[in-house]
């Protein structure tokens, strides 16, 4: 089977005063279509940098990234958006606060497309948006005409998730997307996430700090340390792991 995502010897550096500090070192990673990968690592291990390298928010010092058969190593982030969707850790980062829920969804339905002077056609899409929002189970469907700044953190993150998956992405990046939520909301958002990713068989990478989540969700687990992938467990190998085993990676 052809790989969905390939990272070949990917390196990212940052200049610190007079010397160069490596953030990612010769990362090699292959994801099959439908892979649902949890990414674990200490603070500063390079998890978010890895995502930033894939989305193009950080330039590569070396290496090559191929997604869905297209080399994207040097494309601008806004161009890569046609293939990649991302949900950020901060619920405020994924939505436009003064635009309504429906307006945010309408924009997300055209992710990566060239926008035109055609009407936004919001009214026609409202029934579909209401149906979609109802899946989250947190009353989002009743807030379609509300600016997103009036939503709770959980509703806002659920909206970000819907926006990321509304137009099927070739790769979904979840960047600790439940970290800023309370435990109950976090659990609810994880349930919605799992449902969306598995139902749609999306290729997904999810950064998490919850060891239980890293063992529970997805079909694969990779662990980063000091900018390198130090462990890569497939479904079978992961089943043998316990949270205590994972703790050893955190020193």
């Amino acid at each position: 089977m052809t790989d969905q995502l390939t990272l070949e010897h990917v390196a990212v550096n940052v200049a610190v005063e007079t010397h160069v500090k490596p953030l990612l070192q010769a990362i090699d990673l292959r994801l099959a279509p439908g892979d649902y990968v949890c990414v674990l690592g200490t603070n500063g291990a390079g998890k978010s940098t890895l995502f930033n390298a894939i989305t193009g928010d950080i330039p590569l010092a070396a290496g090559k990234i191929t997604l869905a058969g297209q080399e994207i190593s040097h494309e601008k982030p806004e161009k890569r958006a046609r293939l990649i969707a991302r949900v950020f850790q901060d619920p405020k980062m994924g939505t436009a606060p003064r635009m309504t829920v429906a307006e945010n969804l309408a924009l997300a339905s055209r992710r990566g497309q060239r926008l035109t002077l055609a009407s936004r056609q919001l009214r026609q899409q409202l029934p579909a948006f209401a149906q979609l929002a109802a899946q989250t189970g947190n009353g989002l469907e009743k807030a379609l005409d509300k600016p997103t700044e009036q939503l709770s953190g959980g509703q806002r993150q659920a909206l970000s998730l819907l926006m990321a998956t509304l137009k099927r992405p070739e790769l979904l990046l979840l960047d600790e997307h439940t970290a800023a939520l309370d435990p109950k909301t976090s659990e609810a958002i994880m349930a919605v996430t799992d449902k969306l990713v598995t139902q749609e068989q999306l290729t997904c990478m999810m950064i998490t700090h919850h060891l239980e989540d890293a063992l529970k969700y997805g079909n694969r687990l990779i662990i980063l340390s000091a900018g390198k992938i130090v462990a890569d467990y497939d479904t079978k190998a992961r089943q043998q792991l316990t949270a205590a085993d994972l703790l050893t990676y955190f020193g």
Partner: protein, 299 residues
């Protein structure tokens, strides 16, 4: 009566400055200093074009194009030159002072005995000062309608999103730099247009006529927001034009109270400062009242 009509006419024409500034200040969320150079640039281009025998309508369109060009320069300095937008605006504004002198050949150029949009044959039947109300009304209506339609297009929604949350916009494939360029070009185009129209209405262009224009535009926006409260985006654009008219009436009242016309700029600044502070003071008073009531109830 005639002073009131004149205030409405001037308010409508300055309303275009408010709408232009609204695109950058309220939607894209940055103050664009270019406007202080763009406004007299539009005026200089329109007046110079008319004195060179160009039809006033084409001269007015040239004023708009001149404004768009200055917005483009600010945009390129910011997006390609990586100069902070506030500084880029100041640089273009300063540069335009010399360009305006070049365009007019002097500091002040009169339209005496020249045709202009406001002395068109079909407006002569109207009572005094109604010409500016009619032309200002027509232009403001067209501009506000076009901006509302634009904001409801796919590009318009991307434009709003880029101002609201550039990170999110980029993640959806919208280039915030391109939207900034668009906002600066369109916004300054409208301000150039306002400069061209007001120069024709006043009968001259002056190299110093841009001083304080940003305050006038901001006053229109903020007075509209303070007076009309929570509105949809489309309604807010109408409120900007109405705010501009109200601002003209405030100035009129201030002058009627016997203030010196030379003090108009400081009065303008005070009016704007008050308009910005009033909602915040009101908000604090409400919080204080709520807290006080809460304490009383507990007692």
């Amino acid at each position: 009566m005639s002073l009131g009509v004149s205030a409405i006419g001037q308010g409508l024409l300055y309303g275009l400055v408010g709408v232009g500034l609204f695109l950058t200040f309220r939607i894209l969320d940055f103050p664009d200093m270019t406007v202080e150079g763009t406004f007299p640039f539009g005026a200089a281009v329109a007046v110079a074009a008319i004195t060179h025998g160009i039809h006033p309508l084409i001269a007015t369109l040239l004023a708009m194009l001149a404004g768009m060009l200055s917005g483009l320069v600010t945009g390129l300095l910011t997006t390609k030159g990586h100069i902070p937008v506030l500084l880029a605006g100041i640089l273009v504004m300063t540069g335009l002072f010399s360009i305006n002198l070049r365009v007019m050949g002097r500091a002040n150029l009169s339209l005496l005995n020249q045709p202009n949009l406001f002395n068109a044959h079909w407006l002569k039947a109207l009572p005094p000062y109604f010409d500016s109300v009619v032309i200002g009304g027509i232009v403001a209506l067209i501009v506000v309608a076009c901006v509302i339609v634009f904001l409801n297009t796919q590009i318009g929604q991307g434009f709003i999103a880029a101002g609201d949350n550039p990170t999110m916009a980029r993640s959806l494939g919208i280039d915030p730099d391109r939207q900034m360029l668009l906002g600066l070009v369109v916004g300054n185009g409208l301000i150039g247009l306002a400069g061209g129209l007001l120069a024709q209405n006043n009968g001259y262009a002056d190299v110093n006529m841009g001083i304080g224009v940003i305050v006038i535009g901001l006053a229109a926006i903020i007075i509209g927001e303070v007076v009309f409260g929570e509105l949809t985006l489309s309604q807010r654009l109408v409120a900007v034009v109405l705010g501009s008219i109200l601002y003209r009436f405030v100035l009129l009242i201030v002058l009627k109270l016997g203030f010196n016309a030379n003090d108009l700029k400081v009065i303008s600044s005070v009016v704007l400062a008050l308009a910005i502070m009033i909602p915040q003071i009101d908000h604090r008073l409400r919080i204080r009242k709520t807290l006080r009531n809460g304490v009383t109830l507990d007692d």
